[in-house]
């Protein structure tokens, strides 16, 4: 091998060894948008068929192959074919929604139903700003499949439509209903005669007691520290009311530095200052921290209601995980202690360029039927946005506490959506700030500054489409 060979080979290696750059464009461009328009399937609308499904039109469903598996979707598909026996359903599941479907969106030939979830999820801001999603308004207005006298919209839990709406248009069906709160082991608390604290002062006192018993009061996912932004923001909203969340979502100037946010950050700084966090937590990822919690090394953890099924394999028998709302800061709180963050999750969508849009909507109607929803809850132990669909279904311990917490919260439930509007703000910027804050490297003021700086950078970025929501 002489030098010229090496040079030549190295140049080739240079081209080969940075495949990531080529990867971006390997599937790009060259697609023409509208070639499929002539072939969309549309049947005639009737009382039996309010969405106008063409009964022999094929339907393609792509499911995120994550924690829920794909069996539930196959069951929904079977229900669909029961009604439309001539329709052929093409089903597939993938973990990489974005990479799998990106070329098909560009090409103008996306599937009819997409479960856009997981870490390979497509950013909704991108999809919505490119008008890639079909309007699901007709679905809401259509009568429910098996609840007589009600439209689909009437059967949904509060907040289910709002979270999937962008500038007033309902584009994304979030199918599961998730509560976000603080989790503890009821078994541990009963054994030690501890009681979950309802106010922040009591919470700190309880933490002191827990620490004295040789257990760390808190742990969190240090490598995904945004999990801790949830209780912090919840505390602020309970203190200052839903307008605190509205300001964050609408990127209002200094929304992150409102008095309520300041009070909440100061309060939460206490658990950092007093070293109430399991040592080493900043170096744990979500699985590792949740496992430490299941092993009884820490008493509290912040998570959503998927925690129970995610931890199924490592939770000791009789652990009895229980969700609770964040403690109230004081008597001045605008929302009662019971108020908990509840929101629809697990997004499903029908691409605007899907050939069988009507079929996609009808498939959603099947999912949102009482039968479809109950089947889902039975199969994957998660609540759906369909009201009352968990009735008569035997739920695991943790999910039962979620149902109770949501019931108690009732109309006081709250939520925010800035993370849906601007994924980068939560996933990158607030996340980084939380990491610094909860590991004690910065104080509350710097923390809020850093979050505000992140929000401002999104607000100023003209390449990101902005959304506003009304209260």
């Amino acid at each position: 091998m002489n030098r010229r060979d090496i040079l030549r080979r190295s140049a080739a290696a240079g081209l080969l060894a940075t495949p990531a750059a080529g990867l971006l464009s390997g599937c790009a461009t060259g697609g023409g948008g509208d070639k499929n328009d002539a072939e969309t399937y549309q049947g005639t609308k009737s009382a039996e068929n309010p969405l106008g499904v063409k009964e022999d039109a094929p339907l393609e469903v792509v499911i995120f192959g994550g924690g829920f598996g794909e069996e539930y979707a196959k069951a929904h598909e079977a229900m669909y074919t029961e009604k439309y026996p001539k329709a052929k359903i093409k089903h597939s599941a993938t973990q990489e929604i974005s990479k799998t479907l990106q070329p098909r969106f560009v090409d103008g030939s996306p599937p009819d139903v997409v479960n856009n979830s997981g870490t390979g999820q497509i950013d909704f801001n991108g999809l919505v700003s490119q008008n890639a999603l079909a309007d699901l308004g007709d679905l809401l207005a259509a009568p429910s499949l098996d609840v007589p006298g009600k439209t689909v919209k009437d059967t949904l839990l509060p907040g289910a439509v709002e979270i999937g709406s962008y500038d007033g248009k309902f584009l994304v069906l979030n199918y599961t209903y998730t509560a976000y709160g603080i989790w503890y082991s009821n078994k541990l608390f009963t054994e030690r005669k501890w009681e979950y604290a309802k106010t922040w002062d009591e919470h700190i006192a309880l933490c002191k007691q827990i620490k004295a018993a040789g257990i760390a009061p808190w742990t969190y996912a240090g490598l995904h520290p945004r999990y801790m932004s949830w209780p912090l923001i919840s505390t602020a909203i309970k203190l200052g009311g839903p307008s605190v969340a509205l300001a964050l979502d609408n990127l209002e100037p200094n929304a992150w530095k409102s008095d309520a946010m300041k009070a909440a950050a100061d309060a939460w700084h206490q658990i950092v200052k007093d070293k109430y966090i399991l040592e080493g937590s900043p170096g744990l990822d979500h699985k590792q921290s949740q496992t430490a919690w299941c092993q009884g090394k820490a008493a509290f953890i912040s998570c959503g209601s998927w925690l129970e099924s995610e931890q199924k394999d490592v939770t000791p028998a009789g652990f009895n995980m229980t969700i609770a709302p964040t403690p109230s800061l004081g008597s001045g709180d605008k929302l009662p202690f019971e108020a908990i963050r509840g929101t629809a999750g697990e997004p499903f969508m029908v691409p605007a360029k899907a050939r069988n849009v009507a079929g996609g909507l009808e498939y959603f109607r099947t999912m949102l039927s009482k039968k479809g929803a109950q089947d889902f809850t039975k199969k994957v132990a998660s609540l759906t946005v369909v009201a009352g669909s968990s009735e008569g279904v035997e739920l695991p311990y943790g999910l039962n506490t979620v149902v109770k917490a949501l019931d108690a919260s009732g109309a006081n439930g709250f939520n925010w959506v800035y993370n849906n509007y601007y994924r980068k703000l939560e996933r990158n910027l607030v996340d980084a700030a939380c990491g610094e804050f909860f590991s004690g490297r910065i104080g509350p003021a710097e923390f809020l500054d850093q979050c505000q700086k992140g929000a401002d950078s999104i607000a100023q970025d003209s390449s990101i489409k902005k959304y506003k929501r009304a209260a």
């Binding site: 240079g14 750059a21 464009s25």
Partner: protein, 302 residues
């Protein structure tokens, strides 16, 4: 042979070249074109914006931060890997004692070589997950070892002060084995007579390594250098799996930035392509530069 030359060339060269052009070169050319648009990746609409993406890149602090980390990797990973690789290879090839009769390796050299090569057999994903457990701040091997000897341990991947160095260590660890084997193979190609002559002249081992082995291995070292430099400019998989650039962007690299911009927190394919184009030129310049700097007279054995 002569009249059969062309069919042979056509059969064996044209298909691979076509494949290469289609699957490697053409996406690259497309990336250049995409980098001048505001394409968002999920529709066919893309408006030309000229060099606006590159201008935005220039003012993007996160990209500069990632680049800075890549530069540190570029300065350290090749040097550490090559020095360690050379050291181990030398020990394996001539670390043994056999009097003055000749040069032999240490006992059990084959076993060591297998052990060193082991990381190379594992998929990078497995390496990342493995080390994530080693760096586990409470149960990890490292923390336990530190506690066992009474030392305090940091939270490794959870602290911006240590996370970057932890990832760097894994990069070196996962690469060294390959270069031990590569250098070892090159060393075994060096004629024994040279070493015998050197030994007769009474040269020490270090002098032998510096004055004889290294010059004879120079071409191989140079290839290693270029490959490692390219690796250091990428480093994507390990970083993405171990820390995803955190905490607080302390381990961010340019590859992660690009991925995050296209598939992660945003879907800005035009902007991500611009990052890719910058990466391409950086890698190319580094490859060419390291070859230029490393230019030396070639030594023929014959």
């Amino acid at each position: 042979m002569k009249h059969g030359k062309w069919p042979l060339i056509v059969t064996f060269l044209v298909p691979p070249v076509l494949l290469y052009v289609f699957f490697v070169v053409s996406p690259y050319l497309q990336a250049f074109q995409i980098s001048t648009t505001d394409w968002l990746g999920y529709s066919a609409d893309a408006n030309p914006v000229g060099l606006a993406n590159f201008k935005a890149l220039w003012h993007d602090d996160y990209v500069w931060n990632a680049l800075k980390n890549n530069v540190i990797l570029l300065a350290l990973v090749p040097v550490l890997t090559i020095v360690l690789g050379l050291f181990f290879a030398t020990m394996l090839a001539m670390g043994g004692r056999k009097g003055s009769a000749g040069v032999t390796g240490v006992r059990g050299g084959a076993l060591y070589r297998t052990v060193y090569f082991f990381p190379q057999v594992l998929s990078v994903v497995i390496i990342a997950l493995l080390w994530k457990e080693v760096y586990h701040p409470n149960q990890g091997l490292l923390t336990s070892a530190a506690h066992a000897v009474g030392l305090p341990a940091p939270t490794w991947l959870g602290d911006p002060a240590t996370a970057f160095w932890c990832v760097l260590a894994v990069m070196v660890w996962s690469n060294v084995g390959f270069y031990v084997v590569l250098f070892g193979a090159a060393m075994s190609a060096v004629p024994k007579e040279i070493y015998e002559a050197v030994l007769l002249d009474g040269a020490s081992r270090f002098t032998t390594l510096r004055r004889v082995t290294l010059p004879l291995l120079w071409d191989t070292v140079q290839v290693a250098w270029v490959y490692l430099a390219i690796f250091a400019l990428d480093g994507f998989i390990l970083v993405q799996l171990m820390t995803n650039g955190g905490p607080n962007f302390s381990t961010d690299v340019i590859g992660v930035r690009m991925y995050d911009t296209a598939f992660g927190s945003e879907t800005k394919f035009g902007y991500a392509s611009a990052i890719g184009v910058v990466m391409f030129f950086l890698t190319l310049s580094v490859a060419v530069l390291s070859l230029r700097i490393g230019r030396r007279e070639r030594i023929e054995y014959s």
